[in-house]
Amino acid sequence: MTGNPPSGEPPDVEGGRSDDTLMTERAAEGDEDAFAVLVRGHAPSLLRLATRLLGDRAEAEDAVQEAFVGAWRSLPEFQGRSSFGTWMYRIVTNRCLNILRARRPQAPLNELPDLPAPAHATAPDRITEGRAALHDVQEALSTLSPEQRICWTLRTLDGRSYAFIAKTVGISEQAVRARVFRARRQLTHSLGAWQ
């Protein structure tokens, strides 16, 4: 049994480290070496975030690269209201949301599709090991609306609090809770754990 998901923020986002603040000031003034330090520090966690949100490493790299280049352009106007990490987290999340929205014709938001039972429905453990399981999860994730998928991923895989997700995505905490709930309900259905 696993414990409950953590509700705090991992230090890589909210930890307004002294050096990050200084490097952000320098980069805002056009110091590309300082920006390189920021990219080096934040790229791994942002790539992981985007890969989780999009389910595709190559797409994630494009999204994070565009987010960094956009950040470089708008840094002179960045007033440091939040830390660089929090700012980037928000940019990457919203970029991924737009990518998911553009990826396919949007499914009706509230509808639970009546999914046909997978072929291995009679197996005792429906979620199998390794690649097959990964494939099943990714398939199930693709049935979620982009908003559900983003909220659920930030909550379950990235361990963010509802309040943090609400601020990141720009919706109410209640709306985040509703989306995470719907995503969980749909995923437990899709992955066959429900019966």
Partner: protein
């Protein structure tokens, strides 16, 4: 599938378990670690929680699959910086030597040298460094150690280093050098740049501005 009156349901997708509890509530209680006598005994609630736990533990175990994790981000960082270097912001040209010499240095190049000069003072880390005006004035922001015994003296030392570097390494005549201390940094906080030996602890001073005449 739902037989409760709609006013008890906050979400149209919610579901009422055979025991009468809302699925959303059961899951929220699990997530927040809330337990009561009912959930401990109710088979329906326990089943619902078990389903969610299974989902979460399985997606998390897949998520930590090494094949899904970035192995080396170095090439990615280079890729980003290649694009950034096509859009450099060098700042304005500043006069080197005498004003009529037509010799110039880009603001960013000078700022970088002056930040480095300030950082020659042990424990000092430089951030914003703006240059402009005639003669060229400097506005420099620094973080200094919390244990700095005399902040004014430290600011003066920074100004001297900046001035010496501007004269002797660049050949840039400076007007005012304003040093702003924007943070007092705890010595114990490990910094990758910190090479200074720890000083004896003193009473912390408030951040203050030191400005050259």
């Amino acid at each position: 599938m739902n037989n409760l009156p709609p006013e008890t349901r906050t979400d149209p997708d919610d579901e009422t378990l055979p025991c009468g509890r809302l699925l959303s509530q059961v899951w929220a209680d699990w997530e927040e670690g809330v337990h009561d006598d009912h959930t401990a005994q109710c088979a329906h609630c326990r089943l619902a929680v078990a389903d969610l736990e299974r989902l979460e533990s399985q997606v998390r175990s897949l998520d930590s699959d090494p094949a899904q994790q970035p192995v080396d981000a170095t090439y990615f960082i280079d890729r980003v910086m290649d694009v950034v270097r096509l859009e450099l912001r060098p700042g304005q040209p500043l006069p080197l030597g005498e004003a009529d010499e037509d010799l110039r240095i880009m603001e960013n190049v000078a700022a970088r040298a002056l930040r480095r000069a300030a950082e020659e003072v042990p424990g000092v880390r430089a951030g914003s460094c703006r240059l402009g005006g005639t003669p060229v004035n400097v506005d420099l922001s620094v973080h200094v150690p919390l244990t700095t015994p005399d902040v004014q003296a430290l600011a003066q030392e920074i100004r001297e280093r900046v001035d010496v570097t501007a004269c002797e390494r660049l050949g840039l005549h400076l007007g005012e050098i304003n040093v702003r201390i924007t943070d007092l940094v705890d010595d114990d906080a490990a910094s990758p740049w910190s090479t200074r030996s720890p000083q004896s602890p003193r009473s912390p001073r408030s951040a203050q501005e030191g400005s050259a005449p």
